[in-house]
């Protein structure tokens, strides 16, 4: 049906009036002058603004306005078109590799998140280092994200492409070889079988040329190598089995910090120091400066450096006369009585003892060999057939290379992984020699003294971007694999050499080739090479199942010559020793702010090196003996071997031998993003490469110098509840009340245990679910600080710099409290005279006590926070809610352990920290752990017991439908501890190790009488003071 209906818009339309009709034809009701304007051609052409122009202006205007109004959006896109296998956002991947820089060797596991390495841990499966790690190794991840790294190879300071660089150098090398010229490689000790093979290949391929590889270690153990060559006909460093030694004598040997395979030694040392075993080793240390090792000794004799060799000789004579060996020329020292006692102890434990020396004097080391030989220790506590391969440098070879260079006969020199311009003594004038080399190329990852004057600088990758292999110890092989694609246009030393040799193999292929040829044949487990290779890569190491025949070596050497040389060491009124610090080591990582801010375990000093002096000496000389905060150190002008240093701070260091000074190596370089030089380079003052000298003089300048320490009070003030210690006899023969008495309170009902007197209801965590706790063994803790840097790395702890440390505002979540024994001890409970208790002894006993949030069940911090920003979890953790914190600092004041840290500034923005804090640039931020919040200004923070790791562990267990296995979750500190002093676990798990340790007789809680009910237990320190020397 059709519709004929008509609709009107209005009554006008219906009526259709003429007026309406007129309007209907006119679109616009009012008169518009558009026609007048547009119709008039003349007018239109006279107008400046045409319609097109108008549109242009409009378009431009709108664009300009919108551009001005908005910031350009910053788009950072992660190209994840095809997801990498096993790379899941939020899930960490772990890769086994190793760290080796000529100073430290460590088998490690690298944690990567979203493809970037963020944390380094020890490889617990490795039979060599057994998961031990030190601060230098676990901080090395930060060096990867160093802004100052070379981003491309350079020729004459200009960045060039690798093809140009390699082309040019390949030409130079070929030219040198064909002319029969001298080609030299100067590197740190190389343990890599593939690199050694490569050098050998190069030498073999060009018999016409003079090609030589020289090992150079800034801190060398040349004396041990040479001594063993003389004693056993083998230029090698023995391996040790310190855990079998009942008596350990260290003579100037800092074997827990700076010694061949020191990580292995640390593990072994801790094993022999457990008082719960049948025996506990007795450790004597004879040394000039208080080293990390010396601070752990049961009995310590401070001697001047020149006396060390005499002590060794006297020790030899005593041991020889007691065991019926030939005695040598007599020498008398002020310590004869003590040395005799040590010798007696050694002889009593012949074959179960170990004598070590760090001396750079070959004759002293020969005598050490003779002592160990006389005691029958070879084959038992040390083995010259199983050698340590990480220190191969022989000083004389380096010196002859420099001589060669000075004659101008070296045509081609490759320097890799070492910084000789910095670390060689100035008397060797390396720079002068380097200038005479026709072509010198330096492989370095960041600018240093050697790159400063070299034409060819090869940008080397960080070890986390490199392939390599290593054979650090006889029968132990490991692979270094990259954990990230190189961040910059870098190429490693070996790849370049292959390129210059004309090989089209990559170093990776070359390593595989080496392993296929050698290692693969040393095992029988895998029949396919790829299986074998993947397995080695996964495990990080390889141990041949087919072992080498052991070679019996006999000791022979000219002891009389050694003895007369040792007796003749120069002495002086003042003598000086060069040592390496725990944080900075040989200085190859001195640019790493984490390590600079790691307090020295002994002096607690950060960001500086200095001259250490005995406090009595310092008082005699009129130098300040207290320093830190606003107390400055006095400075001296010191001349060492003719090299003068001006305005060097002097620190009164208890434990330092009287008349002995010591200075740390590795300083005097630029740090982080700064251009400022920190500390003094004392390498230049070394005489040859001797670690000590008697040619030293100094004068006070009358000026002072600001120093930054994290601890300004040195003694424990007789506070038995803070640090508890006992001796071996009391511990073995006494009851708990003798060595670890419970705190009793006097109440009207008689004495009650402090834990039974409580106003509070017991915390519900004890009953159900998890109850996280920790146990720290003061006997195992050596104070190395590995836990501190591990925590920094795990928990994004900011670097605050020297000025802030001086203001006592370091942010470390875990610290190691170091207490010296007082000059005057408390007599009994009622003794209220504190007099000399504040002063440490001249040769003190040392205690290292790791201290972090104690996660008190009755936490004083929790009750005082007005906004409930810090609360107790139902798993026993004291937790911080950063979002809620308003920063009253009340909690920190009320913390009896003073472990809370306040964000005084915005460390990641404020320009004071621009040069220090890695989190202030895009590259440095890559090291941050995405699981841990970066704390804002004005917020309190503290140890969370790595709650993110606990969560991950719980989730993993949940996914697998099981409960958490004891030991599965580790905190950053417990996993980094090379001596397993820290145990973390669930106190509600009846079979957990932490529960067992918290219940043993040595367990106590710090200041238990305050009633905080801490979840962190400590085990008292037991010293083996039996037969101790007065």
């Amino acid at each position: 049906m059709s519709n004929n209906k008509k609709y009107w818009k209005g009554v006008e339309e219906l009526n259709d009036t003429p007026d309406f009709q007129l309007k209907k034809n006119n679109e616009f009701n009012e008169y518009l002058p558009a026609e007048d304007f547009l119709g008039d051609e003349g007018l239109l052409s006279n107008s400046n603004t045409s319609r097109r122009d108008f549109l242009k202006y409009l378009g431009f205007g709108v664009t300009a306005a919108s551009l001005a109004a908005c910031e350009t959006p910053v788009n950072k896109v992660i190209p994840y078109v095809v997801k990498t296998d096993k790379t899941n956002p939020g899930v960490a991947n772990y890769f086994a590799t190793h760290y080796y820089d000529g100073f430290d060797y460590c088998d490690i596991v690298v944690k990567t998140r979203e493809g970037r390495p963020i944390k380094i841990e020890g490889n617990k499966k490795s039979p060599y280092t057994q998961g031990a790690i030190n601060a230098r190794v676990n901080s090395s991840v930060l060096s990867l994200y160093d802004e100052k790294r070379f981003k491309a190879p350079q020729i004459d300071g200009e960045e060039v492409s690798w093809s140009k660089f390699n082309g040019e150098l390949k030409g130079k090398l070929t030219e040198a070889i064909t002319n029969g010229g001298k080609v030299r490689f100067l590197t740190n000790s190389i343990t890599s079988p593939s690199t050694l093979r490569m050098v050998a290949d190069l030498v073999a391929a060009h018999p016409e040329a003079d090609i030589k590889h020289v090992n150079y270690d800034a801190v060398s153990f040349s004396s041990i190598l040479e001594a063993n060559e003389s004693s056993f006909g083998k230029r090698a460093i023995p391996s040790f089995q310190m855990h079998k030694a009942k008596v350990i004598v260290g003579i100037g040997a800092d074997f827990l910090n700076n010694y061949p395979s020191s990580l292995e030694l640390t593990k072994q040392y801790a094993l022999g120091r457990n008082p719960e075993n049948k025996w506990m080793s007795k450790h004597y240390q004879v040394e000039s400066s208080l080293s990390l090792t010396g601070s752990n000794a049961d009995s310590r004799i401070p001697v001047k450096p020149s006396e060390q060799s005499k002590v060794v000789l006297a020790l030899y004579n005593n041991v020889a006369s007691m065991t019926g060996g030939e005695t040598l020329s007599k020498v008398s020292t002020p310590f004869d009585e003590r040395v005799k006692k040590i010798a007696a102890d050694l002889v009593k434990n012949a074959g179960e003892s170990l004598v070590l020396s760090g001396s750079t004097d070959v004759n002293t080391q020969i005598l050490i060999n003779a002592i160990n030989n006389q005691l029958g220790n070879y084959g038992k506590t040390l083995d010259i057939n199983v050698t340590d391969n990480t220190k191969k440098a022989v000083d004389s070879e380096v010196i002859s290379l420099i001589k060669e260079m000075k004659t101008g006969s070296v045509d081609f020199l490759v320097i890799s992984d070492v910084n000789p311009s910095y670390s060689l003594p100035s008397e060797l004038s390396f720079d002068e020699a380097l200038a005479k080399v026709k072509t010198a190329v330096v492989f370095a990852s960041r600018p240093n003294a050697t790159t400063a004057s070299t034409k060819y600088i090869a940008a080397a990758p960080h070890y986390l971007e490199s392939w390599n292999d290593a054979n650090p110890k006889t029968g132990h092989y490991s692979i270094m694999q990259p954990t990230i694609t190189p961040l910059f246009d870098t190429m490693q030393f070996q790849d370049c050499i292959l390129n210059w040799m004309g090989s089209d193999l990559s170093y990776y292929k070359y390593i595989k080739q080496t392993w296929e040829k050698t290692a693969f044949g040393m095992q029988t487990k895998s029949s396919m090479f790829e299986d074998f290779w993947n397995n080695c890569l996964h495990e990080g190491y390889f141990r041949p199942s087919i072992s080498n025949e052991s070679v019996v070596t006999t000791f022979n050497g000219d002891l009389n010559a050694a003895a007369s040389a040792a007796a003749k060491t120069n002495s002086g009124e003042w003598e000086l020793e060069f040592y390496t610090k725990v944080g900075i080591g040989d200085g190859s990582q001195s640019h790493n702010p984490w390590l600079q801010e790691l307090p020295d375990p002994i002096s607690k000093m950060t960001w500086d090196n200095y001259v250490a002096m005995n406090p009595s000496d310092a008082r005699e000389q009129g130098f300040a003996t207290e320093y830190g905060e606003q107390k400055n150190a006095d400075t001296i002008n010191i001349t060492i071997n003719g090299v003068e240093y001006k305005e060097v701070p002097v620190i009164a260091q208890p434990g330092q031998a009287k008349g002995a000074l010591s200075v740390a190596l590795g300083y005097g370089q630029t740090i982080g993003k700064q251009n400022e030089i920190i500390g003094f380079n004392f390498y230049s003052a070394m005489n040859g490469m001797n670690a000590s000298t008697s040619s030293v003089s100094f004068e006070a300048t009358g000026n002072d110098y600001q120093v930054a320490t994290t601890q300004t009070h040195q003694t424990v003030m007789g506070r038995d509840s803070v640090v508890r210690e006992s001796d071996w006899n009391t511990f073995k023969n006494g009851s708990k009340d003798d060595f670890n008495p419970a705190h009793m309170l006097a109440t009207h009902e008689g004495p009650m245990n402090v834990n039974d007197v409580d106003l509070w209801a017991s915390h519900p965590v004890a009953a159900a679910g998890h109850h996280w706790g920790m146990s720290i063994d003061l006997n195992s803790c050596i104070g190395c600080g590995s836990c501190v840097t591990s925590c920094n790395s795990e928990n994004n702890v900011p670097v605050v710099g020297k000025d802030e440390v001086r203001r006592s505002r370091e942010m470390h979540w875990i610290r190691i409290d170091r207490y010296f024994s007082s000059a005057e001890e408390k007599l009994d409970e009622s003794d209220r005279s504190y007099g000399a208790m504040e002063l440490p002894e001249d040769n003190p006993m040392v205690v290292h006590q790791p201290m972090m949030c104690q996660h008190c069940n009755h936490a004083p911090c929790e009750t005082v926070c007005p906004v409930a920003a810090t609360t107790h979890s139902n798993e026993g953790l004291n937790q911080m809610t950063y979002n809620r914190c308003i920063g009253t600092r009340y909690c920190a004041n009320n913390c009896p352990y003073k472990v809370r840290r306040f964000n005084w500034f915005s460390y990641q923005n404020y320009d004071k920290f621009a040069d220090l804090n890695p989190a202030q640039d895009d590259l440095g931020r890559m090291v941050l752990n995405p699981d841990v919040t970066v704390r804002a200004r004005g917020v309190m923070e503290k140890c969370s017991m790595c709650v993110q790791r606990i969560q991950t562990g719980k989730l993993d267990a949940k996914k697998e439908g099981r409960s958490v296995i004891d030991g599965e979750i580790e905190t950053a500190c417990s996993s980094a501890c090379p001596t397993n002093a820290i145990t973390f676990g669930d106190l509600n798990d009846k079979s957990s190790k932490v529960l067992e340790r918290s219940k043993n007789d040595r367990a106590y809680r710090v200041i238990e009488e305050v009633g905080t009910q801490a979840n962190v237990y400590y085990q008292i320190k037991v010293r083996n003071t039996e037969n101790n020397l007065a």
Binding site: E629, T712, V722, P866, C885, G887, N903
Partner: protein, 458 residues
């Protein structure tokens, strides 16, 4: 009407008439400010501006601009806070407690003492604010309903009690003070001729008519507020003391703190009243109202409270030994002989030893000496808080963490700033507000026929 024996010395000297009282009080309001006022406010403003600058720098950069550290988390900030709160105690004590005890002499001093209280509490309130790491989140301390579920403030925290105590004290004091001002504002409104002040004082006086009903209500509300304010006088500083007393830090963890703090606060409050009034009576010619007698009475309060404080100090020392607690004992040995010994002995000298000279009538009625002593007491009380806060914190349980506190220029600047702001406010008060309760004063004017005759004889 107030009755007093004819032989008793009158509280208002100079044989004033009602009209003269009004004129004397209003002299500063209607007259022109003299040179010394301009100089005083000039100096105070410079101090205030410098302090505000320091505070802005502090807020912009971080609490790290102060000298605090990992061990000493509070130092000058909370010292100043407690010091100002303490000063703020005298006003309410004078107006409320003395009102309840019908101490008529209070009338000459209560107005300015209360003004001082208000301004001191304002200055005190600055400190907990700016000492926060994140002042922009200061509202977290209020129990506000929110969307975060069960997120609530922590009622266990003495700092939260402080929030309530101080804000209550401030509001009650302010209301009390303002109620007292209303009739006096009305008097000024009626006296001034210029239109603008008339309008302003008119608004301030809330339409006061002065009829009997109004006076009746005025008296009643004063009594009610006095009843409310009296417990506050004791509660505020008790609660402030609990910031320390409820903690576990040796030297803080002390049950004696509440009475000790309250008497200390009254002690310092009266000293500050002395400081201010001795100048004011001179500059504003109010010697007839604020007489030697008032000064002597206040000195007696100072000697009593000072002695209470002294007993408290000695009790603390005794208990630290008697308790047998190692840390407690060391805390007090350290106070007296440690690196901050000078602050301890400054406190002892200024607060305990020096006020004892007021046992001599000659000295306690000597104006110059009283002024000098009031400054000494103010310094001593500042050191008392410094000693309690800094010397307890800087060496507590673990010797490894022992540090010193070193103030920075920002610490000093902020403190000087609050003094400056306080004086600016007080000087403005002296210039524009009736500094004496002129209507109330008239109730204690001794008038007799003799005097009337004398006046009319002229």
């Amino acid at each position: 009407m107030h009755q007093e024996a004819a032989i008793r010395e009158p509280l208002i000297l100079g044989e004033k008439t009602y009209g003269e009282i009004t004129d004397d009080v209003m002299a500063s309001v209607v007259g022109k400010a003299n040179k010394s006022w301009w100089i005083a406010i000039g100096i105070a403003s410079v101090m205030a501006l410098w302090g505000i600058g320091c505070i802005l720098y502090l807020l912009g950069t971080g609490v790290g601009t102060w000298g605090l550290n990992k061990t000493v988390g509070w130092a000058w900030d909370i010292t100043n806070f407690v010091w100002w709160v303490g000063i703020g105690h005298a006003g309410t004590l004078i107006s409320a407690v003395l009102l309840l005890f019908r101490q008529k002499w209070r009338m000459a001093i209560n107005r300015s003492a209360e003004a001082m209280t208000i301004f001191a509490v304002m200055m005190a309130a600055v400190w907990p604010g700016i000492h926060m790491g994140r002042i922009w989140l200061a509202y977290f301390v209020f129990p506000l309903p929110n969307q975060f579920g069960s997120l609530w403030v922590n009622f266990n925290s003495p700092l939260l009690w402080d929030v309530f105590a101080i804000s209550t004290y401030f509001s009650v004091s302010l209301v009390f003070w303002y109620i007292g001002l209303i009739p006096d504002f009305a008097t000024i409104r009626d006296k001034v001729t210029h239109a603008v002040p008339k309008k302003v004082y008119g608004l301030l006086s809330f339409g006061w008519t002065g009829n009997a009903k109004a006076w009746n209500r005025f008296e009643e509300i004063s009594l009610v507020l006095a009843g409310l304010a009296t417990p506050l006088v004791f509660s505020v500083h008790s609660i402030v003391s609990m910031d320390f007393a409820t903690s576990v830090i040796p030297g803080w963890h002390t049950t004696i703190f509440p009475p000790y703090f309250v008497s200390g606060a009254v002690f310092s409050g009266f000293a500050m009243v002395q400081t201010l009034l001795i100048i004011m009576r001179k500059v504003m010619n109010l010697e007839n109202y604020i007489t030697i007698k008032h000064i002597e009475y206040m000195n007696i309060v100072i000697i009593v409270t000072g002695s209470i404080v002294g007993v408290a100090y000695l009790t603390e020392l005794f208990i630290s030994w008697y308790s047998g607690v190692e840390y407690e004992a060391y805390a007090f040995i350290n106070r007296a002989t440690g690196p901050y010994w000078w602050s301890y002995w400054a406190m002892m000298t200024c607060n305990v030893i020096s006020p004892q000279v007021f046992w001599f009538k000659k000295l306690r009625t000597n104006i110059t000496f009283t002024f000098f002593m009031s400054i000494i007491v103010n310094i001593g009380m500042w050191f008392e808080r410094f000693v309690i806060i800094v010397t307890s914190l800087h060496r507590d349980y673990l010797p490894s963490s022992w540090t010193m506190f070193h103030p920075t220029f920002v610490d000093i600047g902020c403190f000087i700033g609050t003094i400056g702001i306080f004086f600016v406010l007080f000087l403005l008060f002296a210039r524009f507000f009736p500094v004496l309760p002129l209507n109330e004063l008239k109730t204690i004017l001794k008038s007799s026929g003799e005097q009337y005759k004398k006046n009319t004889d002229h």
